[in-house]
C-alpha cells in the first residue's frame, strides 16, 4: 500500500466500505482487493485486483466505486485492474476472517499451503467448530470457495480457499 495524502485518503475511505457483491459481509478492503488510490493527470485512479482472474464481480465493483464517489461529487475517476502482485488469501484481514466465519464460510487458515487439501490441514466447521470435516468438492458456488461438510453436525459449508 502506497502512502496516501489527505485527499486520496478521503477517497480511499469512502470506497473502502463497498461490500463484495458475492459475500456482502466483507468489504473490498477486507478482502485486499482495493490496492491503491492516487491522483494522476486530474483523475483519481483507483487500483483494484481480482481474487481470481475471472472474478465476475470486478465490473460491479468498478461500477460501485464510480457510483460511491459520484455521491461525493467526484466524477474524475478511473478504475485500474492489476494482476501484480497476484492476490492471495493472506491479505484477508483478521477482522474479515471473523466476519466470514460468522457468516457461515470457513475462513482460509493460511495461503502457504503448498500441498493443497493435505490431510494434516483440517478445515474447521464454522457452525460447530468441529475439525471432523471432509471435502465434497474443490469447486464451490463461487471461484474463491470450496465445498465441505461437517462430519459431526452434518452441515454442508463453504471454505474460502487459501490461494
Amino acid at each position: 500500500m502506497v502512502t496516501l495524502n489527505q485527499q486520496t485518503e478521503q477517497v480511499y475511505n469512502w470506497i473502502s466500505d463497498i461490500p463484495d457483491p458475492e459475500i456482502p459481509v466483507i468489504t473490498i478492503k477486507d478482502l485486499g482487493m482495493l490496492r491503491n488510490v492516487k491522483f494522476e493527470n486530474g483523475n483519481y485512479v483507483v487500483t483494484i485486483t481480482p481474487t481470481y482472474t475471472a472474478c465476475p464481480a470486478m465490473k460491479m465493483i468498478e461500477d460501485q466505486i464510480i457510483e460511491v464517489l459520484g455521491t461525493h461529487n467526484i466524477h474524475n475517476v478511473k478504475v485500474d485492474l492489476t494482476y501484480t502482485p497476484a492476490w492471495t488469501s493472506d491479505w484477508l484481514s483478521t477482522e474479515a476472517k471473523v466476519k466470514l466465519k460468522k457468516y457461515g464460510i470457513a475462513p482460509p487458515s493460511h495461503s502457504s499451503c503448498t500441498k493443497l487439501f493435505s490431510a494434516e490441514e483440517r478445515t474447521v466447521c464454522p457452525r460447530c467448530n468441529s475439525n471432523h470435516t471432509s471435502l465434497i468438492s474443490r469447486f464451490g458456488s463461487t471461484a474463491c470457495k470450496a465445498l465441505y461438510k461437517c462430519d459431526d453436525c452434518k452441515e454442508v459449508f463453504d471454505l474460502f480457499k487459501c490461494h
Binding site: 481470481y52 475471472a54 492489476t82 494482476y83 497476484a86 468438492s137 469447486f139 464451490g140 471461484a143 490461494h163
Partner: protein, 252 residues
C-alpha cells in the same frame, strides 16, 4: 519476425488455448453427471475465460490497432486461431473430458510455473495468477483419473479409451517454432523440452496409480501453429461467434 510480433503471437496462442477450452468446458453446464461436477467444470471454464480475457487484452494492446479482447475473441476467422488442437476436441463422455483436463492441466501447471519467471512483466503477472488456479484443475483431473481408472471395469475401460483417444493431440503441446525461439533468447518464452520431461514423469505416476496403461502410439497430429484445425473448430466458432456476427457490437 520482430520480437513484438512474436510477443503478440505468443500471447494470442495462450489466449486462444484458454478461450477454446473454456468454451468446451462450459458446454457441460447443467449436463454434468452430478451437481458438484457441474460446479467444478464450470468453475474451471470460468478460470479459462478469465485467463483468455487477460491474454487477449494484452494481445490487443501489443497489436495497437484499436482492437479489444472481444474483437479478438469474436471477430477472427478459423485460421486466425492458434489454440492447441486438443482444446477443441469434443467433450465426449466424462472420461474424455477428464483425460483432456489431465493432459492439459499437468502441462499448464509446469508451463505457467516457468512463465511466472518470464522477462515480460505482463506474462509473468498473468502466469502467477494462472498457476494458482491450475493447481486446482490439476488436482481435480488427477483425482478423477485415479477414481475412474481404478474404479469399476466399465469406468476403467472408458478412462483407458479416453487416454488413448486423446494421446495423439498431446505432441503439439511441446512444439516450438520461430515465435518460441525468438522470445526464448530474451527470457520471455518457456523452453518446452524440459516441460515435456516434467509432464511425462508426472503423467506416468498418475496413470500407474490409476491402473492405466501409458499410451505408446507414436503418431502425433499438429497444425494449430499454422492455424490448421480439426473440423470441430468451425462448429465451435459458429456457436461462440453467433451473437457477435448476427448483431455486431451488441451491448446489454
Amino acid at each position: 519476425m520482430t520480437t513484438k510480433e512474436a510477443l503478440y503471437n505468443y500471447s494470442l496462442r495462450m489466449g486462444d488455448n484458454a478461450l477454446i477450452l473454456g468454451h468446451r468446458l462450459s458446454e457441460w453446464c447443467s449436463k454434468a453427471p452430478i451437481i458438484e461436477e457441474d460446479l467444478a467444470l464450470t468453475n474451471v471454464a470460468l478460470d479459462m475465460i478469465g485467463r483468455a480475457q487477460a491474454f487477449l487484452k494484452y494481445s490487443a494492446i501489443l497489436k495497437n490497432e484499436g482492437q479489444t479482447e472481444d474483437d479478438l475473441a469474436y471477430c477472427r476467422s478459423e485460421k486466425e486461431y492458434h489454440n492447441h488442437l486438443i482444446t477443441e476436441q469434443p467433450n465426449g463422455d466424462f472420461a474424455h473430458t477428464i483425460a483432456r483436463q489431465l493432459y492439459i492441466s499437468i502441462f499448464e501447471y509446469h508451463f505457467f510455473s516457468h512463465l511466472e519467471q518470464s522477462a515480460d512483466v505482463e506474462f509473468a503477472a498473468i502466469a502467477a495468477k494462472a498457476v494458482k488456479e491450475v493447481k486446482y484443475h490439476r488436482e481435480h483431473a488427477i483425482d478423477w483419473t485415479i477414481r475412474l481408472g481404478d474404479g469399476t471395469a466399465e469406468s476403467h475401460k472408458r478412462m483407458q479409451a479416453a487416454i488413448n483417444d486423446l494421446w495423439m493431440w498431446t505432441g503439439e503441446l511441446f512444439e516450438m517454432d520461430e515465435v518460441d525461439t525468438i522470445l526464448l533468447k530474451d527470457g520471455i518464452s518457456v523452453d518446452l523440452a524440459p516441460i515435456r520431461d516434467l509432464w511425462k514423469k508426472e503423467l506416468d505416476k498418475v496413470l500407474l496409480e490409476a491402473m492405466l496403461v501409458f499410451p505408446e502410439a507414436e503418431y502425433m497430429q499438429s497444425g494449430s501453429r499454422k492455424g490448421i484445425h480439426t473440423e470441430n473448430m468451425g462448429h465451435i466458432l459458429s456457436e461462440m461467434q453467433y451473437l457477435q456476427r448476427a448483431y455486431p457490437d451488441a451491448k446489454w
